[in-house]
Symmetry: D2
Subunit: 431 residues, 4 copies
């Protein structure tokens, strides 16, 4: 996969020179600065070394004086396992790592900056965050939708904030980028740091995002249930709709993890329903042969079937998807009625039961390290930056690279081939 | 609560005199026969001792010769945690307890008896059932709907069955009762034994039914998710629909277990939506005060709102319920739009994720003992009988008592009072 | 089983006449007072109605004025799942049910009353207890060992306590009984209410105790691990030591729940190790036949093997048990070395991983109801009383009946017969 | 970290030229061969590109004819979560991916090759492995200890095996390497493929090993229990011993994941017990300040304290470690007795409850991919090779690189610094 940006664009913006000795300086030998290669491969004995990302670490010198710093944390958009873990990690790293004592939570996403909503600031310290990672959701609350950038920066000025941590998806990271521009315009010294949040794992230039692993684990439970239901009736069909607006990673990964899935439908791979090679025929064949079937569909799959229907936009600016799950449920039933085959269909939509669980152990560790590295970036004076992980290495990349475009499944790549190998499904395309 | 039957009606039907020494006879002292009182209370120094149930146990003498016995097991209706545990317990008790080696599973419920469906018998032995309790669903498969009783008994005769174990709800137990009548008419010696299955816990004269505890445990997880979602947005509403066609036990019990629930709506307690004391007003007040709310609704609640809509009957003969969950989701949103209050509603319908999980440890033990006692009844020659538990004591009662009427929540009883105490909800009835 | 007490002894002591209208009075029709029969059976057409227990309920009139009441809660002895749930339920019932606002936690068991330890009182209200049931252990802390009764009552007087809730085992309930006697002697009006705590489920006149079900669930996980280990090696032996000082209920119940157990050793059933019918020979036979074996031993089993060893008493006054687990581990290895058979033994002692987990859903509900009924008793002015459950009915019994003697497994009863049926183990007694 | 080998040593040995068109050839575009850099970094604008590993993938041409291949799978050494998943993945990839139908399991590790033990071969196919990943342990059984290499190769010849998959730790991988040498000496065409197994995550040149993440997840549960116990008593100490003979990764990672740990002791970091800066003094200080403490110790830590004691070697050739857990338990108690401070110590050793659980979802996916890539290597004719993952990329490396030396925690590296930051513990070294 080729990078969609130049080496120049990987450069991190800084508020100024870091001159203050870091309280963490003693903790370890500070090695040379390193960058992780975008393509860490040797191909035909050559390495492409022109594109790389700055490796995250704590620096010897920092930009902000910990004793004078005030930090704000805000969570935006839909829920994702691990939000509380990231909040907690940021607070602990600020407090214990750098000695920053004034940390505030912004309530209900960007709304919390806007006076008319009247939301109070939440004081954050090790005691108030001690157990939050055991709960799903976000202790700060969240909201969808845009807010006027000027008013947000007004609030940051009024509250004397120096650090702003935005935990959110591409809409919110875009807002963070706009906020940084306004800050720059006003000549303020406020570092804006993003922690990319996407349960769909679809943010670009980031190997994988927090909460995804937990989401897959929860999704497999739904698939297990669908499988039990399907097995328990003659011509039983278990249909599970999973998250994935534009990228089917959860559906594809969960299907591989719980190898009971026979068909996976994702946004990236076109398919037809009717016709000799269509999905319905394949499903019928499966039932004839094995009497049961499990189908997993990502919410963004098959949107072409809704083209004629009226559409809309949700408050975050995402197009409202027609419900492919309910649509398939109805259409499959109609198909088999037409074919005079009795089937028993059980439809499971676990979305809100996946988004709102606490992070598992592994995501918990991941979030903890993301939070730490977000704090390292901010204290060093880096701004308009997000924490990424690339080839197993935590790094800092400009926000612009994270919101450049979406990461999607390559229908000719290993990920999808593994799905095909696992399900045995053909391409549902008539000639 | 007064019994709806006479002492005469608690008598168990028997196929004949039990004369064969039981292989279990040595295992313990066989005490006196005992009956558990229907009302085990002293009220104003008096005991009502006229109604009681036969305590289940293994008898010294049995009716069937274990070496000659062939047994059939069938599971009917919707899934419920523990089905596989009951199957397993019956097989193990027949095999190890009595030395019965010929045990068969009937595939896909009563369909499995009807030649036109062409389902094969499944051989059951300790090896084939060894791990089934770790899976949800039923290894035998199930189906809904009636089958011709004569054909079922034809199959039993043809297959030389002596014992028939029916694991099913009130529809299936009614069929079992009809099957037994036909068996009696033909003069056959086949014992018909029921294990009552109802995830709603609504079968009469049975303190609690298998799978219910697991269902409540799973339901609390959905409520936790709804709570996390509700807490994470301004005016967040988490709406959870749980099972409970005519009895709201799961909703009521889960609400008590997970004390984050603010409103519980069940079929047994009438409520109004609009008006000064209606549910919507109470929900609005809650949001004003606390900014979030969790609502749990049993599927059979509020059916009066659908009275004008056209209706139907599902293949099991149950009336198709209008979907109160989706209905409330729409109506609540409409209400707050009218009131010009922004709310964020998350709707969770976990039904098939509750029905299809494996039994928890405690239900596993319960199912094991139910299965054992079903076998004791059958081997002793009792027929048209189900295994019940009454005041903690396993007992045998005639099928007729189990399907007499439904057990429901008493709106003036302890169960519902505890719900009110836990949620703080008022009665939603305008004067 | 015959009661070891007279009808007279079931009478509950009261501080005085209840004259204050209960805030709960409106909530439900207050029916007749009922008592649950000790023997709720009809045996040879007769009922023994002379012994019965007072059914727990909220009364129309209470003894204490909620506005003036101060309550103390203390947890004593070893951990047990559900301690925090009981604390929480008491606080919520006092606060929401009766309007009692002054509730205090005593820190570290009875130590918390004794000035020399310097422990502070902990203020308890709905906010401070809101999430405690999600943690194992006890938020109040606990301790073992006796404290001078006079000093405890001095503290109660000094702090103007009116209600004392003691959550503890038989040692602590005995202390509660002594405290009540001293209170009576001084003419104070302080109600002493016990919630019996025993992970071993061995308190008399109480059908089952909180935390037991969770303990069994956790114990089955250890057994599963022992089974996996045993299966994975030639002549693999998985040995699990479970709690049970004088009663083997956890071992017996867990063995039934997880039917992979081949041998269960409990304090109530004598056994020999050596000899033709001894345990070692049976274990050898099992290995010869199946190549692996799972053994579960209760900590109090086989204490006779330690008779010659020196002994001691722990701070709670319990005799220090010689470690039967480690002993068997060594002895089994020695036996097979002698027999020149290679075995692979894996020893698992999960005790502290069982005691310290949070209560499962079902225990959570149980604890909630126990706490409520403890509060009903106290507010009604009952004293020297504990909350019991008998044949599924919550009742109040004098502390004296709870500490009368221990409940143990009857080696000729259903419980043990089910174990034998499940494991297939013989009696390990040489003639 | 510098590589301990030359570029030459990363070359993979092959049985011969791959000429047979792979059944997987169509599935995807076969790109250029790629190698993953050992150091994928840009340091001072330079890349070290001399050392790299062969990226794993399915090739267009394979060496073995799938129709004629017979494969053997063996699992060796101690249990580790995921063994069954790897077995299953190898069987499924051989069967569905390449059409290899003859696959056999070797029973009880290398013992299964040696005639005198008399273990039978186990037939493996998709049906026999369908559910094994839901169980811990290994369905094939395992054993420790060496077996004569010649006899193993005799067996491979006798059974006409073409592929040998060895799932095991460094001892077993060393045996695999010796087996391959003997195969080569005899001129046989048998591919030997290793899947490195180490719950300690200590195999060199492999980023992380299967089962490790599950182990950490289970370990955190023990720590939670230890924390609940410690919190519940005055001066409560929870002491947890975790796996880690020579590398403390589990202890260090679990401590970071469950941030309730105050002290972590690992083999890589020297420490003293007594003295002003010793561990005991720090523990005492902690108790004075906070009244409770949680200590995690890796089994290989502090072995210097046993230097005078007699020692031994286990059947796998590993030195028998003196039990640091029990040792600390005793020594800590002695210390506080000497200091006249009452403490309550709870000791938890969860080792066999960690090793024997089923893999979690994430490890399950990891094992699935490891198994697939092991099959790709073998079918391509690569031999004396193991499947590794390096910077997120699956690759093939010579067995020799995997057993070169152990991976350990660098006391000056990020891993350990994160532990120190999380626990706040100092170095326990007196000057």
């Amino acid at each position: 996969m080729e990078p969609t940006f130049t080496a120049k664009e990987t450069e991190i913006k800084r508020l100024g020179e870091a001159k203050i000795l870091s309280p963490l300086a003693d903790l370890s030998e500070i090695g040379f600065d390193r960058r992780i290669l975008y393509h860490p491969y040797l191909i035909q004995d050559k390495v492409e070394a022109d594109i790389s990302f700055e490796v995250a670490k704590h620096d010897k010198y920092i930009y902000f004086d910990p004793k004078k710093v005030t930090a704000a944390i805000v969570t935006c958009g839909g829920l994702c396992p691990g939000l509380n873990n990231v909040i907690r990690a940021i607070v602990l790293a600020l407090h214990y790592g750098y000695g920053v004592k004034r940390v505030f939570g912004i309530k209900y996403g960007l709304q919390g900056f806007i006076p008319k909503y009247g939301h109070e600031l939440i004081e954050l310290n090790p005691r108030t965050v001690s157990d939050i990672h055991e709960q799903g959701g976000t202790m700060l609350g969240s909201s969808r939708g845009e807010q006027p950038i000027e008013e947000v920066v007004d609030a940051l000025e009024r509250q004397n904030m120096n650090l702003l941590f935005v935990i959110g998806g591409d809409g919110s990271l875009n807002a963070a980028s706009e906020i940084e521009k306004e800050i720059y315009k006003r000549g303020l010294k406020i570092a804006v740091t993003g922690v990319p949040k996407t349960i769909d794992n679809d943010i670009s230039n980031i190997s994988h995002s927090f909460g995804f692993e937990t989401a897959v684990e929860e999704a497999t439970k739904s698939i297990q249930c669908a499988h039990s239901e399907a097995m328990s009736y003659p011509n039983g069909i278990g249909l599970v709709k999973l998250m994935g607006r534009e990228s089917g990673f959860i559906a594809a990964t969960a299907a591989r993890a719980q190898r009971d899935v026979n068909f996976v439908l994702v946004p990236e791979v076109d398919f037809e329903l009717e016709g000799p090679k269509g999905f319905f025929k394949a499903l019928e064949d499966r039932l004839l042969e094995r009497s049961h079937a499990v189908v997993v569909v990502a919410e963004g799959a098959g949107q072409k079937f809704f083209e004629d229907m009226e559409s809309g936009i949700d408050p975050s600016g995402n197009p409202i998807l027609k419900d492919i799950g309910r649509f398939l449920q109805r259409k499959i039933n109609e198909y088999f009625k037409r074919r005079e085959i009795d089937v028993t269909m059980k439809y499971i939509d676990p979305s809100y039961m996946i988004r709102s669980v606490p992070a598992n152990t592994s995501d918990g560790l991941f979030c903890a390290t993301l939070g730490q590295n977000a704090v390292h970036a901010a204290m060093a004076g880096k701004t308009s930056v997000v924490v990424s992980i690339w080839h197993g290495v935590y790094c800092h990349i400009p926000i612009a690279l994270a919101i450049r475009n979406r990461k999607t499944i390559n229908p000719r790549g290993t990920e999808w081939i593994n799905v095909i190998e696992s399900t045995g499904q053909p391409a549902f395309i008539n000639d």
